[in-house]
Symmetry: C2
Subunit: 92 residues, 2 copies
């Protein structure tokens, strides 16, 4: 088992998780791989700018990875990071 996440990242994740909409978006990405932001916009009543903002935060926290695929963006949940976060919370 490698070391846990650095404190900085732990704080980032907790902060990112605090917004309900962002958490929903994360759940959706974790549930099925997303190939475009537009997929998400169909499910959440949110502007493109706001969605982009949330995705940037989620990526900065390490919970997702976003790679461009032509016009679209490929969003994949980083389960390893998620599990490391859960492991940290479990210590408490």
């Amino acid at each position: 088992m490698p070391d846990g996440l650095p404190p900085r990242q732990l704080r980032e994740i907790a902060r990112v998780l605090a917004d309900p909409r962002r958490y929903q978006i994360l759940k959706r990405i974790a549930g099925m791989r997303c190939t475009a932001c537009a997929d998400l916009r169909e499910e959440f009543p949110i502007s493109a700018a706001t969605l982009s903002h949330h995705l940037r935060e989620l990526e900065a926290s390490g919970l997702i990875e976003a790679t461009r695929r032509g016009k679209f963006v490929d969003l994949v949940f980083q389960r390893t990071v998620w599990n490391a976060y859960l492991a940290e919370l479990k210590k408490l």
Copy 2:
């Protein structure tokens, strides 16, 4: 196994956990039962008013219970709620 926590409480917990100082305070309470706010004030450079504010939020989220004991306040970590929260996160 009883039902999970209601969505409102899940959101509350996530929000409460997002503040680093509050998370530290929670860790301290979880680590050892606190019999006074003053115990915490010795460890964290924080005003009494701010500490009171954080404790109120922690209690409102259900993560701790606070009962008055004379001049002091007895703070106990609610591990059942914590475990329920972890169980919820684990679903993702």
